[in-house]
């Protein structure tokens, strides 16, 4: 930040103004730090090969400072670029340290200038390209194509995207497991019914419904609930069929069942 470089004072003020304006508009208007740097470098109004990287770094750092002040959110790559430019600036300002190897400040600066020039060149040719006469806008293909007539031969087509997406679909479909109920802790009425049919013949005396639960199912709350419901529903079914009798002493008292004896016995 010293006067050791010879940056023109009025140039800085112009660029600062531009930078400030840009900030007011929107940080998001820039497609990344390189885009912003290119815009800043344009304010120097010289050939991109001759821009002052030092001035550019200052402008950029000023931009980032200002953004922080205004509490604008800056993406990480803006900050990475700021750090790198600060480093570059120090390399450009300090006399080269002969013990340190690695690229010199000039080399780094030249590369940055190259990147900016290349991006600017690409923008320019992109604009040239889009400015060309275009098919379907400025010149036209045959409107009435005659090649669809007569002997119909069916051919099938697919695009590269179809192919790639098809492949991706297969390779990722394991992740789309269809929704299924977890049945490990569920007892169905059919299961309960089957179980009780096998046991009911031995139930001469009133027995608690709970004793018909499968072993171990009373330990887990989910299983208890499921087996209670299933066993109760199954016992109602059996009672309906006339196979058992059900009784309950009072509300919430245990439900008891026993084999129904033939009338004549």
């Amino acid at each position: 930040m010293t006067n050791s470089d010879t940056s023109e004072p009025d140039l800085m003020s112009v660029s600062e103004r531009v930078a400030a304006e840009a900030l007011i508009v929107d940080v998001g208007a820039f497609e990344g730090p390189l885009d912003l740097l290119l815009m800043l470098s344009r304010t120097q109004k010289v050939d991109l090969r001759q821009i002052s990287i030092l001035a550019l770094a200052k402008q950029y750092l000023a931009f980032v400072e200002k953004a922080k002040e205004l509490r604008l959110e800056l993406a990480a790559d803006y900050l990475v670029m700021a750090a790198w430019l600060a480093f570059l600036k120090s390399r450009l300002l300090l006399p080269p340290d002969p013990t340190e190897d690695g690229p010199s400040g000039e080399e780094l600066a030249a590369h940055l200038a190259y990147q900016l020039e290349r991006l600017a060149a690409m923008r320019e040719v992109a604009a040239k390209l889009m400015g060309r006469d275009q098919l379907g806008r400025d010149f036209f293909a045959r409107g009435i194509t005659e090649d669809v007539q007569r002997v119909r031969k069916v051919t099938y087509t697919a695009t590269l995207l179809d192919l790639m997406q098809g492949y991706a679909r297969i390779r990722t479909k394991d992740n789309f497991r269809p929704f299924v109920l977890d049945r490990a802790h569920i007892m169905t009425m059919e299961q309960a019914l089957e179980r009780m049919r096998g046991m009911i013949g031995f139930a001469g005396d009133w027995t608690d419904l709970q004793s018909y639960f499968p072993d171990g199912w009373d330990a887990d709350a989910v299983r208890t609930r499921s087996s209670t419901a299933a066993t109760f529903a199954a016992s109602l079914e059996l009672a309906k069929e006339g196979k058992i009798e059900i009784r309950q002493g009072e509300i919430f008292a245990p439900i008891q069942i026993r084999k129904r004896l033939p009338r004549d016995e």
Partner: protein, 212 residues
């Protein structure tokens, strides 16, 4: 064009220019064009009727000529050359999903046996699907696999590469590349983090060998 300034704005272009215009309009328009429509589309003061006469003459006896359909005009290929158009008479249909997936598996995993295709797709592959791909000349038989039963393998053809604009099946991007290049439908499977790292490796492996 003219030294009368005001007039020049509305002065009709020379007949030769009008002929060019009629030519271009009739060429590019999808339906036959009526005189009224021509007049409407050409600059003020043009006379399409006269231009049409010139166009008609110009194409007399050529491979293409001017025909009148009711009160509209169009270019048509000369009837005696109709036989040249026969090859193009194809009806294009979209390949079924089963066929695309089978084709994709063959392209990514070739040479692939039918059992391998079925294993990857998770469903059986009907005879007709592979037959269709063979008939399209996108798939052909490769070497038999030297495993018990010596199953037939399938590989993709030069015609396949041509159709899909590939130089080599190895140029197809792997899953990771598809995803990072944004070529996958943006539909991440619910609740899954990174998926099938190994899928890609598989593919890398597979292409590795083919390198020498």
């Amino acid at each position: 064009m003219s030294d009368v300034q005001n007039e020049s704005l509305f002065e009709a272009p020379p007949l030769a220019e009008q002929t060019r215009m009629v030519e271009a309009i009739l060429f590019a328009t999808a339906d036959p064009v009526s005189i009224k429509e021509l007049t409407g589309r050409m600059p003020h003061g043009c006379n399409p009727v006269e231009a049409l006469v010139h166009v008609g003459k110009r194409y007399e006896g050529r491979g293409v000529h001017l025909v009148k359909i009711e009160d509209a005009y169009a270019f048509r290929t000369a009837p005696d050359l109709g036989y040249l158009m026969q090859k193009e008479t194809v009806e294009v249909r979209k390949l079924s999903r089963a066929a695309i997936e089978t084709l994709a598996i063959i392209a990514y995993h070739q040479p692939a046996t039918r059992a391998e295709i079925e294993e990857i797709r998770g469903v059986s592959v009907s005879r007709g699907t592979i037959d269709q791909l063979i008939e399209l000349e996108w798939v052909r038989l490769g070497r038999r696999r030297m495993t018990p039963g010596r199953p037939v393998t399938f590989v993709v053809t030069a015609g396949f590469l041509d159709h899909f604009g590939l130089e080599n099946a190895r140029d197809l991007p792997g899953l990771k590349e598809l995803r990072s290049a944004g070529l996958l439908e943006n539909r991440p499977p619910p609740g899954t983090g990174d998926v099938d790292e190994d899928t890609n490796d598989d593919q890398a492996d597979m292409f590795e060998e083919s390198d020498e």
